[in-house]
C-alpha cells in the first residue's frame, strides 16, 4: 500500500500549525476527510440539492436515489441482511438513545437488568441510566481489569437470564481495548439478552459483519470514519425493528394521519422523522466507497502497526504510564499519563509543536476513577498517520519531560 499517496487525498494535511507540519493524532475524536467526501458534499449541493422522498421533480429524484444508494452502501459495509435494517441518525449517541427510548421503554420492567461495562463512553451509559430510572430496571456493569480488559469471571456471573440488554463498546475510546464482541454476543444470546454494540471506534477501522458478530443493534458515527459530522447509523435486526414503536413523530415516518391518530411506516422510515441530513448521508456513502477502495483489512493492519510501534516507542519515555492492553488487543490509540505533566499541559505543549492530541477524561469519567488518574493524554491514529509522525510524538514527549520536570 502506498500510504503516503493515500495521505495526499486529505487536503487538510497541507498546512503548518504553529510553524510545524500538522501531526494529527486525534482521529478517535473525529477523523479527517478525504477530497472524495468533500467533493461529494459540494457536488450534491451544487447539482442535486432537493428534499428526498417527497417530490417527483428531477432534482428530488436524484437526491432520493443518492440517499437510498448510500443506505445500500452502509448495509453492504456492515453486512446487514437488508437495506431496511439501516436507520440514519445524527451519530452513535442518537442511535443509542433511539434504542433506549423505543425498544428499551417497550421491553424493560422493574427487576430486569441492563448490563454494560466499566469502559463505556458516556453516550453508552447515560441513556441507560435514564432508561433504568424510567422503567425501574437495574443497571449493572462488568468491571475492567488492570490490563484494560473485561473481567471474564464477572461476565459469567453478571450475564445471567435477568439481563434483558447487554450494551458494550467494541473498541474502547479511552483504553484502546478490542472487546471479543462475537463471543460476548453469543453469551448474551444464550441467556436471551438483546445486544447493542457501540461501534464508534471500530467502524472504518476493521471489517464489520453484524451477522457474524451476532449483535442485535450496532451503532456508529460517520465523522470518525472519514464521513461528515452530523450523520450516523443505527443497524437493528429487522425482527426487532419491526416490533419497535416510533421515537420522534413527524413527516416522513407516517403512512396516514388523521387529527386523532396515525399509522407508521415500516422500518427504517418509521425511525427517520423529518428531513434527514441528506448531504451527510451522501457524504457517508462516499466515505464508505473511499474506505472500501483502500480495503478495511489493509486499514486494520496499518492501525495495528501504528499502535504497536507507538507503544514500543512510548514505553521508553521515563515516567510514562500507558493504559490499556498489550500488543494485539489494542485499537489505533494509546492513552497514557506522564508523571511530570498534567494532560492539559502536555496537550498544550504538544500543540505548540504542531501535534494535535486530546487530554482529559475522554467522556469516560468512571474509567478515569477506576484507574485513579485525573485524566489521560490520548494519541489516536488512522491510516493517514505515519511512523514518522509517531517518532515526532515521542520526541515531543521527551522534550515535554525535560520542560516540565
Amino acid at each position: 500500500m502506498d500510504w503516503h499517496r493515500i495521505r495526499s487525498d486529505f487536503p487538510i494535511f497541507d498546512q503548518q500549525v504553529h510553524g510545524h507540519p500538522l501531526v494529527y493524532l486525534d482521529s478517535a475524536a473525529s477523523s479527517q476527510k478525504p477530497r472524495a467526501v468533500i467533493q461529494a458534499l459540494s457536488h450534491y449541493y451544487e447539482r442535486d440539492n432537493a428534499n428526498v422522498h417527497r417530490a417527483l421533480h428531477e432534482l428530488s429524484v436524484r437526491a432520493t436515489d443518492a440517499f437510498e444508494a448510500a443506505r445500500k452502501k452502509v448495509a453492504g459495509f456492515i453486512g446487514a441482511a437488508t437495506d431496511d435494517e439501516i436507520i440514519f441518525t445524527r451519530g452513535t449517541t442518537e442511535g443509542i438513545n433511539l434504542v433506549a427510548n423505543t425498544w428499551g421503554t417497550q421491553n424493560l420492567r422493574p427487576g430486569d437488568v441492563i448490563l454494560i461495562t466499566g469502559m463505556e463512553h458516556h453516550s453508552n451509559l447515560v441513556p441507560w441510566q435514564l432508561l433504568a430510572q424510567r422503567t425501574g430496571a437495574t443497571l449493572k456493569h462488568i468491571p475492567v481489569l488492570d490490563d484494560g480488559t473485561l473481567d471474564s469471571a464477572a461476565i459469567e456471573t453478571l450475564l445471567n437470564d435477568q439481563v434483558k440488554l447487554f450494551a458494550f463498546v467494541h473498541i474502547s475510546n479511552s483504553l484502546g481495548t478490542i472487546n471479543p464482541a462475537r463471543e460476548l454476543c453469543a453469551k448474551a444470546r444464550a441467556v436471551g439478552a438483546v445486544t447493542l454494540l457501540d461501534g464508534a471506534q471500530s467502524a472504518g477501522h476493521m471489517p464489520i459483519d453484524v451477522r457474524e458478530l451476532g449483535c442485535d443493534f450496532f451503532v456508529f458515527s460517520g465523522h470518525k470514519m472519514c464521513g461528515p459530522t452530523g450523520i450516523g447509523v443505527l443497524y437493528g435486526r429487522m425482527k426487532l425493528l419491526e416490533t419497535m414503536p416510533p421515537w420522534h413523530g413527524g413527516g416522513e415516518m407516517i403512512l396516514s394521519v388523521s387529527l386523532e391518530a396515525s399509522t407508521y411506516k415500516p422500518p427504517p422510515h418509521r425511525f427517520e422523522a423529518g428531513t434527514p441530513d441528506i448531504a451527510g448521508v451522501i457524504g457517508l456513502g462516499a466515505a464508505i466507497d473511499y474506505l472500501q477502495a483502500i480495503g478495511l483489512e489493509n486499514i486494520q493492519r496499518h492501525d495495528h502497526n501504528l499502535s504497536n510501534y507507538a507503544v514500543q516507542q512510548m514505553r521508553e519515555v521515563p515516567g510514562i504510564r500507558i493504559l490499556g492492553p498489550d500488543f494485539g488487543h489494542r485499537g489505533a490509540l494509546v492513552a497514557f499519563h506522564l508523571d511530570c505533566a498534567h494532560p492539559h499541559d502536555l496537550v498544550e505543549f504538544a500543540n505548540s509543536h504542531g501535534v494535535a492530541m486530546r487530554g482529559g477524561h475522554h467522556c469516560t469519567q468512571p474509567l478515569m476513577k477506576r484507574f485513579k488518574v485525573p485524566g489521560t493524554t490520548r494519541a489516536s491514529f488512522y491510516f493517514y498517520n505515519t511512523l514518522e509522525e509517531i517518532n515526532r510524538l515521542v520526541e515531543v514527549l521527551h522534550a515535554a519531560r525535560q520542560f516540565f520536570t
Binding site: 505533566a341 492539559h344 499541559d345 477524561h361 516540565f404
Partner: protein
C-alpha cells in the same frame, strides 16, 4: 527542540515552581469557610479553606488543595500568598484585576498588588486556559459568599 515564545510565557519558571511546590497547601480545620470549584470539562479541581478575622472583614488564613493543570494549581498557590491578610474588598479588587490580566481585558487598577501574579498574563494567548487560571479565584469568591448568610 525549540519552544515558542507563547509557550515560554505561559509556563514561566515561577509558575512551574508554584505548580510543583504549591504554597499554603492543605486544609484548615473548622470553623472556617470552604468552597469546592471545578471545571467539569477538563476535570481541574480546587478546594479552598478560609478563616476570617473576628470582625469578618479580613482573610486571616487561606489554604487550598486540588488537582489539575499547572496553570490552575500555580494560580491557586500564588493567589493564596497574595490575598492572605487582605480585606475581603481588597481580595475582590485583586480578583477583578487578575481577571483583566489573564483575559487581556484592560489594565489592572493596582498592578503592584498583584505582584508575581502578573506572570500569568501569558494566559491571554490561550483563551481556553482562562478558566484554569480563574478557578481558585472563583472558589474563594464562592467561599466568601457562603459566609454572608
Amino acid at each position: 527542540m525549540p519552544l515558542s515564545d507563547e509557550l515560554r510565557d505561559l509556563y514561566q519558571q515561577v509558575i512551574l515552581d508554584h505548580s510543583r511546590n504549591p504554597r499554603n497547601h492543605g486544609e484548615i480545620p473548622p470553623p472556617c469557610l470552604h468552597a469546592h470549584g471545578d471545571n467539569p470539562s477538563c476535570g481541574d479541581e480546587i478546594d479552598v479553606w478560609l478563616r476570617l478575622s473576628d470582625d469578618g472583614q479580613n482573610i486571616e488564613d487561606l489554604k487550598f488543595t486540588g488537582q489539575g493543570c499547572a496553570i490552575s494549581q500555580a494560580s491557586a498557590s500564588m493567589m493564596t500568598q497574595k490575598i492572605k491578610g487582605k480585606s475581603k474588598e481588597q481580595a475582590a479588587a485583586m480578583r477583578e484585576d487578575f481577571r483583566r490580566v489573564v483575559m487581556g481585558d484592560g489594565t489592572p487598577q493596582d498592578e503592584e498588588a498583584l505582584g508575581e501574579l502578573i506572570l500569568l498574563e501569558g494566559v491571554q494567548k490561550f483563551p481556553q486556559r482562562v478558566k484554569c487560571a480563574m478557578l481558585a479565584w472563583r472558589a474563594v469568591e464562592q467561599a466568601l459568599d457562603s459566609g454572608q448568610g
